[in-house]
Amino acid sequence: MQRIGVFVCHCGSNIAATVDVAKVAEMALMEPGVVHAEDYQYMCSEAGQAKIADAIHEKKLSGIVVCSCSPRMHEATFRKAAERAGLNPYMVEIANIREHCSWIHKDMEEATKKAVILMRAAVAKVNLNTPLKPGESRVTKRALIIGGGIAGIQTALDIADAGYEVDIVEKTPSIGGRMSQLDKTFPTLDCSACILTPKMVEASAHEKINIYTYSEVEKVSGFVGDFTVDIRKKARSVDMDKCTGCGVCQEKCPSKKAPSEFNRGLNTRSAIYTPFAQAIPNVPVIDREACIKFKTGKCGICSKVCQAGAIDYEQKDEIITEKYGAIVVATGFDTINLDKYDEYAYSQSKDVITSLELERVMNAAGPTHGHLERLSDGKAPKEMVFIQCVGSRCSDDRGKPYCSKICCMYTAKHAMLIRDKYPDVNVTVFYIDVRTPGKNFDEFYRRAVEQYGVNYIKGQVGKVIPQPNGKLLVQGSDLLDNKQILKEADMVVLATAIEPNPDVRKIATMLTASIDTNNFLTEAHAKLRPVESPTAGIFLSGVCQGPKDIPETVAQAGAAAVKAIGLLAKDKLMTNPCTAHSDELLCNGCSTCENVCPYGAITYEDKEVNDHGIREVRRLAVVNSALCQGCGACTVACPSGAMDLQGFSNRQIIAEVDAICR
């Protein structure tokens, strides 16, 4: 029989205001095995933990139940406290009477009743707990970064500087990401390329960093400290070792009609291409869809002009398998598709563009060589209208319910830059709210208004109406003047909502990392563990976790690196002892469990057993506890009831069910 202690936490008034904690403690004493019960204001405080330790010593407790907040919050705290007092940490159970009780119920009597039942279930379970011992697993001292934008580059540099090997996998032919497409950055108006390219060079030159561009993660297996990852290196059709990056092939390539991804499709590129001049690596790829040689078999000009003999039409995709201790996701974002917002005439007029497209238009390496001009006729605009919140803050299924966070600031930046370079161009911004929380952000926005005379109108635009003369009529609200405005514009710029890179869903599934309804990766704790995924060993860097600007992204990238370094610095990890185990006498050797195990943790061995005096060799399931992650799929699949899960055994769960239904 266990000697159980029950500790009921007030959590200040969080629990005590709706649950009669003294009553819960009193009722606990009536439960089988309970020899001690008390309540205290803050069980998680040092004094609270001391009370637990004292009771363990004095009452010789063999198990404890803490009625408190969610086990996802303080289970680890109380297990450690118990361990310090000499109790096996797995003899601790938590009854969640805060998140699952006091916070959602208002009636004291009802909430107290429920808290008592939750306590009973935990007591019933702990009565059947057995001491468990975690195993150990090794840590591969190498990190994988998925995504080579500013987030991925920064995380890679920080991890590599700490002395660990880092691989970056980037889908496109070059690292650099979205930041490489930006012209200037707010609020200091630094040239984006000028501050990014040194980082790109540093990453590529770093002896600890290895970059796989034009590559994708294809398969992930294993677990924290010991992931095995397949990376598909797509056929570049150019030998990276031989290519000198002279660029002649791109110049001579006769197929020049493919839309340029880097310039958001606003102009075209050759079939053999590097996305932009400062690309790293400076080795082109052949776009096989656009290449005449691949389409018709005739051409081969690039091969003829390449003095280094680097062109290789026969190159095939290559799969590289590598082991990692930690994985950082830095997959970034894209702007949403505007098909469902055609009241803004995006698909009907070339002069309605997104803000990211405007970045390319304003950039010297862009489709207009940095001249602000209409994409329909090349004329210089006189009136520009910016529309905010296009697809952001939408609760219908056309857009995104969240604020994209960066648009208010980049629009102020665009408006300011245009007014600065082209003082004769009038700039009007239709906004719902201007949101500028950030260092020097509101000052920046006010400068746009006060110093540069940008006209901000509070109200959304209802429709952009292309006119036969090529102009655009913008029909919007001025809520402060209570007017409907018709404004003729030459160009309209849409502050298009951002969304996580569409590939992230696939990647999250491979990593078994949680993702929210907007496809942002979920953090382990919204406030206290913002750069870790709930899945151990997976870290989050940049916009894949939520909308962010560059300074925030860089800060978070550094934080993710620190967390990854903290993991890589360990030689061994304690494994979760709540693993499956099979009762040799019950196992019938059917292999059902082996087939459902997602980790390959179950194998079959011929073993000699002593079944009630009969000694014989049988084929039996054996669980490799280093591989088992404790999901329990095998326990339900097992037809003979041999397989059970430690810490969540059949008897334990049934005891909980019984206690609840009592």
Binding site: E99, W103, I104, H105, D107, S514, A633
Partner: protein, 146 residues
């Protein structure tokens, strides 16, 4: 206690996987999104840990409804656990009707860690359903009833 009409207070067991729906329930709690106290949650590592036996046991012991929540299909922390759970429950539920437990008394829902609202909405609608079905008299062992 008097023998007069007792107000019906259903017993409802909710199995929640540790990674998504238990976290979703926590989020519902920290967001103060209420649902009836009739629901009691049992934490399991994964929805695939839920043995059909547990559900039968609950009904046998007098539960009026059992709901199982897991990660959305494709988002399972253990990759495939919720697919197993889905198949097992489909099979079990189809047979429950046969032994006298109405379809409405069992439910499977996918709730992610970010879906506190969905968790509370789900529980509210499930409890409402159980109230409309009334007490589960058919499987419960009447001798156990007070």
């Amino acid at each position: 206690m008097s023998i007069e009409k007792k107000e019906f207070k259903p017993k409802i067991v909710a199995f929640c996987c540790n990674w998504c729906s238990y976290a979703g329930a926590d989020l519902a709690g920290s967001s103060r999104l209420s649902y009836p106290a009739d629901v009691k949650i049992i934490r399991v590592p994964c929805s695939c840990r839920v043995n059909p036996m547990f559900i039968l046991r609950a009904f046998e012991k007098g539960a009026d409804g059992v709901i199982m929540c897991g990660c959305h299909p494709g988002d399972c922390h253990y990759s495939t656990g919720n697919y197993y759970a889905r198949r097992r429950m489909t099979l079990l539920f189809s047979m429950l009707d046969y032994i006298g437990v109405e379809n409405g008394r069992t439910r499977v829902e996918w709730v992610s860690a970010a879906e506190g609202v969905k968790f509370s909405d789900t529980m509210n609608s499930f409890v409402e359903k159980i109230y409309s079905l009334g007490e589960n008299v058919r499987l419960g062992d009447l001798r156990c009833r007070s």
